[in-house]
Every structure is written in structure tokens, then in C-alpha cells.
Amino acid sequence: MLAPAACLAVALVLPFLAMLLHGLVPSSTASASAASAASAEALRARNLAHGRAALYFQWVFGAFLVWLSITGFCSPEGLVLKGQGLPVGASNLMVDPALYLDGRNAPFLLLMGLALPLVFTWLRDREGKYGPSYYVSANLLSLSLAGVFLSDSLLLFYLFWETALIGAYFWIGMHGKSNIHAGSVYRAVIRFALVTLLGSLPMLLSIVALCAAAGKDPGLSGIAGVMGSLPPMERGLIFAGFLIAFAVKLPLLGFHGWLRDTYNVAPPACRAILSAVMSKMGAYGLILVLGQGFRAECFQWAPQLQMLCVAGAIYGGLLCLAQDRLIDILVYSSLSHLSLLALGLFSALQSTDVESTGMTGALFQVLNHGLIMVALFAFDTRISVDGESPTISGTGGLRKGQRRLAAVLLTAVFASASLPGFSNFAGEILVLFSAFRSSPWLTLLAGVGALITAAAMVRAFHGIFLGVPKKDMAVDFQQAADFSLGETALALGLFALWLALGLYPMLFIHPVEISVLGVGAARALVGMP
């Protein structure tokens, strides 16, 4: 099932075409003073048409990405698409942009391919309030995410990193909704943008330093070679530049200040994509850029970084316990689980041999955490009314009104809590195995962190869905629409996938492990640098 390498470029071209389609289709210029019912109705109809087109596109694009990722899994030597470059900025640095696909970045594409259709189906715009700019920025974000995951060239990687920020800025800035808990949209979004840039600008300097030392763009695979020739001070600085960028994106503890407000004000679909896929940009960087290019520095700093991750897991859990609103609980559970993902990676790099359990576990958690977050945030949005998420103290007994929603939400909560049988358990156990090799105490603490998060989420479910409805609820959550049969079927399909991967994880682990282990050897066979 080998595809020609040109399909890698198609993954980038498709969302670009969608952007053009949504942006260029002529629409009447909405003047601010037009308030007649007829024009508002026409506007609504136009928005609904855009929404329907976007939905079809996301299913097609999602299917394409799933197919592409399966191709990546099945071909251990990988696909590479090398382009012809031009010297950048009249410097004498020739850049050859390259895209690649093998078992290492296939999980990220699989996640995107599954997450995008789910998000755009469960969270589609029923009232027609989002105009074409919503879909243009959503597609810009998808394009950039696919580009980050597929790039082999450092400059392309940086390009897509920045355009992802631009896409998210416009998506949240133009269509976000302010919240008394999180403040105004602009404040949250500019904080998000500035903190992300605070990470990515040092990364730019690191990339320039690597290119200057190598005389060309070394690509992700060439970083290790260039680093070998540099003095230790420079190596440390370059490593720090990349680490900051990925730590902010994931986020790791200490860099997470932007998380809550941004997720609160973002439009629901954006929130799901941010948590599920955009945070995996940080994971991609940690696993595939730091893990391959900076092994020596990671080995040197692994103990401290592992402690940071465990602290993040526990702190995220404690914050979860302290929250009242369901959405905040989900935000902090995301923080906790992502810290565990990073723990898997840093434990893997604790030894100088390639230790595949931790890396594979981290890659597995990429897929699992992403899908679980899509499900949880989507369900939370569906149970919310007027953008207000249900609170533990203020609501209760919602199960009576929304039976299907409560059922799927409970299953997702259990999956997130790493119930054995679900794939999240398999991924987390790999991470903990790897952490145990470095330090049993850290593993115990990490387990405690996971436990606290799980307990907090189950408690949230208990408080919101079970029990007796509170007398004077500020918002009547019973009026939220329950899941339709089709949407429930989608959720059941997702759970079937979790069960399949949870009961037979080798389906995923085997192809990934081949790529993780055999990358150097396999590439040498095919004659790639």
C-alpha cells in the first residue's frame, strides 16, 4: 500500500484549497447598519452553507490523512519528498525543503485524521453564526499542523510553527467568546500569542545557529551530526532554544499560564483542536526533534526534566481537584496527562541506547490523549448552554435529561482515567515502565498524579451528572440537546477503536517501534543521509 511521495504534498495542498474556497466565494459585504431580518437570514444561510462544505471537506481530508498515516505505518523505510529550494534572503544558504513520513510521525497524522472529522461533526455550527473567516482560519491551522508533522527541513518546520500561531490567533480572536471567568478574548489571545512567540523566537535563533554551523539546512535527521561539531556552550544554548519552544507548546509545568484563559475563550471546535492536536506540536518537538537531535543534552538534563514532568502531573491533578467548572477540570487534566507523555520521552532518553518503550509509549499517548481530549471537550461543549460549562457545585442530575451524552461522557472519563482495556492504559503503562527504569520513586509519584486527575474527573462526573438536580441552577442545563443517534454512533466507533488498541496494542506499537528503533539503520539502507 505504498503511495508516491507526492501525496505528502497533497496533505498540505488540500487545506490550502479549502482556505481559498471559503475565502474567495463571493459574499455580500455585510455593512454594519444592515439589520433587516431578510439580510440576517441570508447571512445565516450563507454561514450554514460554509459549515456544511467544511464538514464534507473535513471528512474527506480526515480520511486522506488516515490513509496516509497507515501508509506511513506500513512502510518502515518511509517516504521522502524533497523539493528544490532557493537561497533564503540572498544569503548563500540553499534550503532544500523536504517532507517525510514514516512510523515516527504517522501517529500524529492518524490523530489529525481522526480528530478533525469528529470535531467538525460534533461541534458543527448549528445556528449559522460563524462566517467564512472561521473556516479559513481553521484550515490555515490544519494546514500548519500537517506541515509541522510532515516537515523534514528546519525552515519549513519553523514556517508551519508560525503559521499555526497565526491561524489560531485569527480563529480565536475573530470568533472567540469572552467569559467572566477568563476575561476578554483579546487579552487571552494576545497572551497566548506572545507566550508562544516567547518560545518560538529562541527556536528561530537555534535554527539559524544550526544552519550557520552546517552551511545548509540540516533537516531533523541532520541535527545530531551538526551538534557533534559544536562547542558545549553553543550546544546548550541551541538545546535551550528548542526546549523552550516545545515546553511552551505542550505545555510543561511553568509554561502553562496561557492554557486556561485561551481554552475558555476559544470557539469550541478550536478548543478541541488546540488541546488534541496543537499541543501535540510540542510533543512532536520533544519526541522527534529533541529525542533524535539532542540525545546527549537530553541525557544530561533528563533527571531534572523528568522531575518537572512528574511535578506537572501532580500539580495538574491538584488543580483539577480544585476546579468547579467542567471545562477547567478538562483543561488541567490535559496538562497532567501531557506531562506524563513527556515523562515517557525523557525516561526513554535517560539511557544512551535507544530505549524504545518510553518513546513508543509517548507516541501512543499522543494518539490516545488527542482522541480523548476531542471527545471530552466536544461532550463538554454539548452539555454547555450559552457557553457556560456546568459546575460541580451548581448542577446535578443532568443524566436525567441527556442520557446518551452522559453515557459517552462517562466512557470517555473512564478512558481518560486509564481504565485497563482502553488504549490510554496501554500507553500510560508503557510510560510508567520506562520511568521505572530510571527511578521507581518518580514512577510512584507519576502514578499518584495520574490517580489524582482520574479521581477529580470521576468526582466531576458524579457531581454534575448523577444525583439530584440542584434547586436553583443559574443556567438550565436540561435544555441542552442530547446526542443524536448518528453522533452517538460516532462516539461508539471511537470507543471501539480505543478498545481495539487497548486490548491489542501491538497493532500500534509494532510499526512504530520498527521506525523508532531502526531509523538510522533503515535510512542508511535506502541511501538517505
Binding site: T29, A30, S31, A32, S33, G83, Q84, G85, L86, P87, V88, G89, A90, S91, N92, L93, V95, P97, S133, L155, Y158, L159, E162, T163, I166, Y169, F170, G173, M174, V185, Y186, V189, I190, A193, L194, L197, L198, L201, P202, L204, L205, V208, A209, C211, A212, A213, L237
Partner: protein, 478 residues
Amino acid sequence: MNPYVISQAPLVLGFALLLIVASFRPHQKESLSGLISIVALGATAVCMWFWPPDVTDYFGGAIHVTPVGRVLAYICLALTAGAMLLSDEYLNKIHVTAVDWRMVVLAVGMGMVNLCLAGDLPTLFIAYELVSIPSYLLAGFSHRDPRSNEAGMKYLLLGAFSSVLFLLGLSFVYGATGETNLLAIHDKLAAAVSTGAAADLVLAKVGLALILGAVFFKVGVAPFHTWLPDVYQGSNLASLAVIASPVKVAVFGMLGMLLWGAFEPLADLWKPVLLCGAAISAVMGNLQGIRQTSMKRLVAFSAVVNAGFILLGIMAHSATVVIFYLGSYGIMSLGTWAAFMAMGTPKADVDELSDLTGLGRNHKWLALAMTIILLSFAGIPLTSGFAAKFGVLLEALRPDMDTPRHTVQVLLLSVVGGLISFYFYFQIVRAMWIEKPESRGSKASPLVPELRWNYVFVLAMSVVVIISLGMFLRLPGL
């Protein structure tokens, strides 16, 4: 007739023709003068193209032709022609006599070309003055507007001060070396450095320091930049399209050619100074830009920040990178002024951020063009601004480059300062796309911009150039 004189003739003839047009149609609205000016500028460029390649000196070394100088001259002429095109109806809107304005700009054009081709000290100074003095006129051209008068006055005083420093520096260099020809100065200085004759060098170094101070004033490197926001805010947009775009390119180009050419033996002196200037510009330009609500002042502080980057490029001794940066900056700047002109109404200009609310909804292509220019300023990839900054950083970090200590720290400062730049560039993006008109609370009707063909044309051209210069990917099939 030597080729140099032939190529300067169109500018002089154009000036003369404009005088004739002015005397026959003194205060009428006409476009003939614009046409004459653009033809003159184009003819100069064409004549320069056909210069004999082997002749580098004219008038005994007074004019010295180098490839770098020629490219810079072409860039300046192209940007000036663009500014001339932009000025077509705009000058009538602000009640300025178009012919007079265009004569002054042709004079500036002549000065810019000669600044790029100067071979000895007198030519250098004459060209410098020919660029500066008409610029003072341009800044204060809208004499009915008190802010324009203030801008002109400030620019005159500061510029005169800068010219005095420049002249003093040049005369000290003459005193130290006894030569006026720039190549001969280089040889004398190199000889003095190698033999270690400290006495001669002290005077030359003082001269160089004065020249650097003067040029820093002129281009607005911090901390000599305090005049920049007031002059930008007071001048009219057409004058700014000349002062803030081609003039910057010419003066920076001159600085580069002087430092790499005549003063190259004194590199140990000017490299740290440029590094300092870049560091201070990065800090002050960015910090002072945060609170601005006037768009012209915002652009002024962005000019300070960009000046810092250009200094880094000059310090890295890389001509191609500096030319690329200057060309990219020039077209971005011209595009900005074109966008501001396009956003203005037939009665008034835009200046406040709040004037732009709702532009993204009502005029999305105009807002998109402005956004692309702002992305280029902010250094987002696939734009020429990013490619230019990348080139500068790359050259400064080359392993075999002899850069002063703390270069890496200053580069980090400049790059992280880009964070703050992003914030204030995106204030404009926020105003156009994110701010909702209802939230403003005012009953002012939304902006109805006058999208004249010349504003839109220059704006579109600048966007096209920005994106094509920023591409490092060759599209398949091209």
C-alpha cells in the same frame, strides 16, 4: 559626453521641465508633472543600466561605480517612482501643489543616486545634503497643518545638526589621511593600521565616530531616534513615502559602502558601535512602540527596530544580505504608506488605530494586504521580512565571522524584541479584524476608504514582491 552625465541628464531635464510646467500651470491639479517625474526616474535607471562595465571612475574618481552601488541606486529609483505614483491624487487632497512637491522629490532622487555612487568626500557630502535638505522641505510641505510645520522644523534642526557632524567627521578624516578619494583613504588607513601609527589613527577614528553619529541621527538608530515619531506623525503620507523608504535605503547603503570600503581597516572601532546601536534600537524601539495608538508613530518605532537589524547586517560584512534587507524594507515601507493612503477617506487621513475598526469585515482585501505587510514586519516566514531577518542572523552567526563579543546576546535581544514588535504590529491587525464596531461605543460610521487605482496598484505590487522575495520554495514547474 560621459555615460554618467547622460544618466543624470534625465533627472536634471525633468527638474527643468517641471519648472516650466509650474510656471504655466502654477496651482492647478494636474498629473503631467507626475508623468514627467516617473519618466525621468525611469530614464535614469535605464541609462545607468547601459553603462560600460569596465569603467568604474568618472571625473577622476569623484564618481565611483560599484555593483553594490548600482543595485542600491536602482532600488532607490524604483521606490521613488512608486512614491511618485502614490502621490497622484493625494497631493490634491492635502492641498499641496503637486508640481512643487515633485520637483523636490526629483532633487532627492538625484541626491540618492549620487550617494550610492560617491567616490570622494566632496561628492559624498554634496549628495548627502542633496538628500537631506529637500527632505526637510518634504516633511514640512503641508504648511497649513501645524503638525507638519513642527515636523519640518524638527527634521530641519536635527538634520542640520547631523549634517554638521557629518562634515566635521569628513574633514577630520581628510586631516588624518590627506586624501579625499575614498579608495585612497582606505589605502592610507590600512597602511597606518599595519604600521601601527597611532597618532594618525586617532584623528581618523574621531572622524569616523562623528560620521557614525551623524548617520545614526539621520536614519533614526536609537538613542538618536527621538525625532522620528514626531516627524513621521506630522508629515503627510506622500512625503513619508519618500523620507521613510528610499531615503533610508540610500543612507544605509552609503553607510555600508563607507564602512566596508574606506573605513574597513578601522573595523575594530565600528563593529562594536554598530552592535551597540543595534542592541539599543532593539530595546528602545520595541518598548516605546507598545503604547502607541497613532499608526504613523507605530511605524516610526518599527523603523527604529529595523534600523537595528540593518546595522547587524552591516556589521556582519555581508553586502547581499544588507541589499536584500534594504530592498525588502523599502518595499514594505512603501506598501505601508500605500495602505494608509488607501484606507484614508477623500476628506481625511487615517491615523488612529480606532479608525480602522471593522475594516476586515467591510474591505477584506485591503485588510488582508495590510495584514501581509504586518506579517512581513513581524518576521513571519514566507514573507520577505522573515527572509531578510533570517539572512542577517545567519550571516552574523557564521562560524568564521569575526564579530565582536556579545554578538550572540545582542542577536537574542533583537530576536526576542521581535516578540514586542509582534504585539504592536498586531495592534493594527486587532483593530482591523478583531475589534467589533459595537464595542467601540461610538456612533461614528465605519470607514469608507477611497481605494484609488494608484494606491491599490502600489499596495498590490508591494504584497506581491513581499511574498515572492520571501519564498524559499520553488514551486513545482517553475
